[in-house]
C-alpha cells in the first residue's frame, strides 16, 4: 500500500483542488484530509459521515476554588502565564503540561481530558474518506493528523486498497511533520512566485529530513513562466522530480463553487490535461496498477 501526501509549504497553491482532481482519477483509494486545522477537502467531496469520533487531545488544568489556598506556587511555575490573579486558568493559554497539577501542595488542580475536535469516516463518490475537524483555537493538531492517517491506513488495509491520497497541511511545523513520517512520497504543489519557491525549498528540506522522496508540480505556471523554469531547475538540483505544469485556469474556482472536482466541471480544460499528465507519472512512480 502506498501513501501520497500532497503538500506545498505555502498555503493556497492548490493542494486541495489538485488532491480532489486526483481522487477523480485514482482507483482503489482512501482519501485522507490531514489539514485538520482548516480542512477544505470535504467541500468538494460532500462526504456522507458514517462514523463520528471525539478527538481527545490532552488535558487542561482547572483550579478547584474550594481547595485552593491561593499560595501562588502555580502562578509562579506556569511558563505560559495561563493562571490569572483570581486563580482561573485560561483555556487558550494552558499548554496542558500539568506542572501546576503535579506541584500544587493542596492538590487543588484538576486535570480533565479535553475534547479538541472530531474525526470522521465517510463515504464519498470516489470512495472512503477519513477527515477531521480540530476545534477552533485548539492544540495538538499533530496528534490529530497522526490519528487520521493511522485510521486511513487501517481502512485501506481492511479493504485491500492500494493507495492513500492525503491532502496535507501548509507550513513546515508540527502538523506537517506528523503528515510526513512513513509516507511513500510527497508531491509539493508549487506556485511560480518567489514565495512559492522559498516555501517549496523549506518543505522539501523537511521531506529530506524524514527521508520521504519528494516530487513537484507547478500550478498556475503561466502566471510567471520565468519563475516556473527557475523553480523546476531548482527542484531538479535538489533531486526532486518535476512531474508537470498546470495552467492558471478559472475552472478551479468555478468547480469549487459547485463543490465538484475540475473533471466533473469541465473535463476538456487545459487544467485537466495538466493534472492527467501529472497523475500518470505518479501512478508510474508509485507502481500503482
Amino acid at each position: 500500500m502506498k501513501e501520497l501526501i500532497i503538500i506545498s509549504g505555502k498555503g493556497g497553491t492548490g493542494k486541495t483542488s489538485i488532491t480532489a482532481a486526483f481522487a477523480f482519477l485514482a482507483k482503489n483509494m482512501v482519501l485522507c484530509d490531514a489539514d485538520v486545522d482548516a480542512a477544505d477537502l470535504h467541500l468538494l467531496m460532500s462526504p456522507e459521515i458514517v462514523e463520528r469520533h471525539d478527538f481527545q487531545g490532552g488535558n487542561q488544568a482547572v483550579i478547584n476554588k474550594d481547595m485552593c489556598v491561593e499560595c501562588g506556587l502555580c502562578r509562579e511555575l506556569c511558563n505560559w502565564n495561563a493562571i490569572d490573579e483570581d486563580y482561573r486558568v485560561s483555556p487558550i493559554d494552558c499548554e496542558g503540561c500539568g506542572v501546576c497539577v503535579y506541584f500544587c501542595p493542596e492538590k487543588a488542580v484538576d486535570f480533565p481530558v479535553k475534547t479538541c475536535g472530531e474525526w470522521y469516516m465517510s463515504n464519498t463518490r470516489f470512495g472512503s474518506m477519513v477527515h477531521a475537524r480540530l476545534g477552533i483555537a485548539e492544540e495538538n493538531s499533530g496528534r490529530l493528523v497522526a490519528l487520521v492517517r493511522q485510521q486511513a491506513k487501517k481502512l485501506a488495509e481492511e479493504k485491500g486498497l492500494d493507495l492513500i491520497l492525503t491532502d496535507g497541511p501548509p507550513g513546515i511545523g508540527c502538523p506537517v511533520i506528523a503528515s510526513l513520517g512513513g509516507a511513500s512520497a510527497v508531491l509539493i504543489v508549487v506556485e511560480p512566485t518567489l514565495s512559492g519557491k522559498h516555501d517549496m525549498l523549506r518543505v522539501a528540506e523537511l521531506a529530506g529530513h524524514f527521508k520521504v522522496p519528494a516530487m513537484i508540480c507547478v500550478n498556475k505556471f503561466d502566471l510567471n513562466k520565468d519563475e516556473t523554469r527557475v523553480i523546476e531547475d531548482t527542484a531538479r538540483e535538489k533531486g526532486m522530480e518535476v512531474l508537470g505544469r498546470i495552467p492558471f485556469d478559472p475552472v478551479f474556482t468555478k468547480a469549487m463553487v459547485q463543490g465538484r472536482t475540475i473533471f466533473e466541471y469541465a473535463s476538456r480544460s487545459e487544467a485537466c490535461e495538466g493534472v492527467i499528465n501529472i497523475w500518470d507519472k505518479i501512478t508510474e512512480r508509485l507502481y500503482l496498477k
Binding site: 509549504g9 505555502k10 498555503g11 493556497g12 497553491t13 486541495t16 486545522d37 482548516a38 477544505d40 467541500l43 490532552g58 488535558n59 511555575l77 511558563n79 487558550i92 499548554e95 496542558g96 503540561c97 500539568g98 506542572v99 503535579y102 506541584f103 480540530l134 477552533i136 483555537a137 485548539e138 492544540e139 493538531s141 499533530g142 497541511p169 501548509p170 507550513g171 513546515i172 511545523g173 508540527c174 506537517v176 511533520i177 506556485e191 511560480p192 512566485t193 518567489l194 514565495s195 512559492g196 522559498h198 516555501d199 523549506r202 518543505v203 528540506e205 523537511l206 529530513h209 502566471l223 510567471n224 519563475e227 478559472p250 474556482t253 469549487m256 463553487v257 463543490g259
Partner: protein, 283 residues
Amino acid sequence: MIISVASGKGGTGKTTVATNLAVSLGENVRLLDCDVEEPNSHLFISPVIEETRIVSTPVPQIDEKKCTLCGKCAEVCQFKAIVVLGKTILAFENLCHSCGGCMRACPADAIKWIDRELGVIRKGRRNGLEFIDGTLRVGEAMSPPLIRKVRAKADMDRLTIIDAPPGTSCPVITAMKGADFVLLVTEPTPFGLHDLKLALGAVRILGIPCGLVINRSDMGDGKVKEYAREESLPILMEIPFDRKIAEAYSKGRLIVEEMPDWKNRFIELYSQINRIVKGIITP
C-alpha cells in the same frame, strides 16, 4: 496599536496586505512576520538586515551519574519527552515543551537545561519601516514559542503590523492574541468562506475587533459578502483579481510599487481600522 493580519486559509493574501499596508504607512511602523514556518514578508520588503539572532528553548539533559532512576521526571512530563526503561533514562528533546516540571521534580539534581534551537529572529529596516521576522528551523515542530518571541517585539509606541500564520490553532492564536485589531483576509470562494468562519470564530474567542479584506474579489461567488453582512463584519477593502497584481506578487513586488494609486487605498484602510479601534465608528 497592533494590527494582526490573519486568515484561516493559506494563500489568500495576508502577506500582500500586511506588507503593502506597512509600506504605505511608511515611517514609524514596525512589521512583524509571525508566519515563522513560511515567512515571506521579507521577499517583498527586502529589508537591510541589521541583526540575526538564534532563538532557543530550554530542554532537559540528564546527568546519568546523578540520576537514581526514580522516574519522577517521567511521571510529571505530559509529553513523553522523558522515559525510564529499566536501567536507562531517555530524554527526547524534540518532544519537550519546556515546562520545567522534570527539573523541579528531580530529587537528585540530575537535570540541567540545554538549548534546543527553535530558529532565528532577524531585525532590519527599509527606510523608516522597522522589520522583524522569525524563521523556524526546518525539522522543529513547535512554532508557538518562536512566534511568541517575535510577537514580543511589538512596540506600544508605534503602529505594529503582524503577518500571522494561516489556520485557527495555536500558532495563529499566538500571533493574534493581544492585538488591538485583526484584519482578516479571504477570497470569495467556498474554501475562503469556510476558513473565514473558523478564523472569525478564533477572533471572537479572543474578543478582538476585526474587519475583512476580500482578495481576488471578482472570482468565486457572493457568499463571503453575504456572510460578512450577516456577521456584521465590515468589509474594509476589496482587491480584484488583476494579472498585473499577480505577476507583481510573483516577482516579490508590492502592489503599491507597481500601481502607486493603491497607496492611498491602504492609507484609507488604516484610517478605517483606526476609527473602529478608537470607537469612532462601530461596525
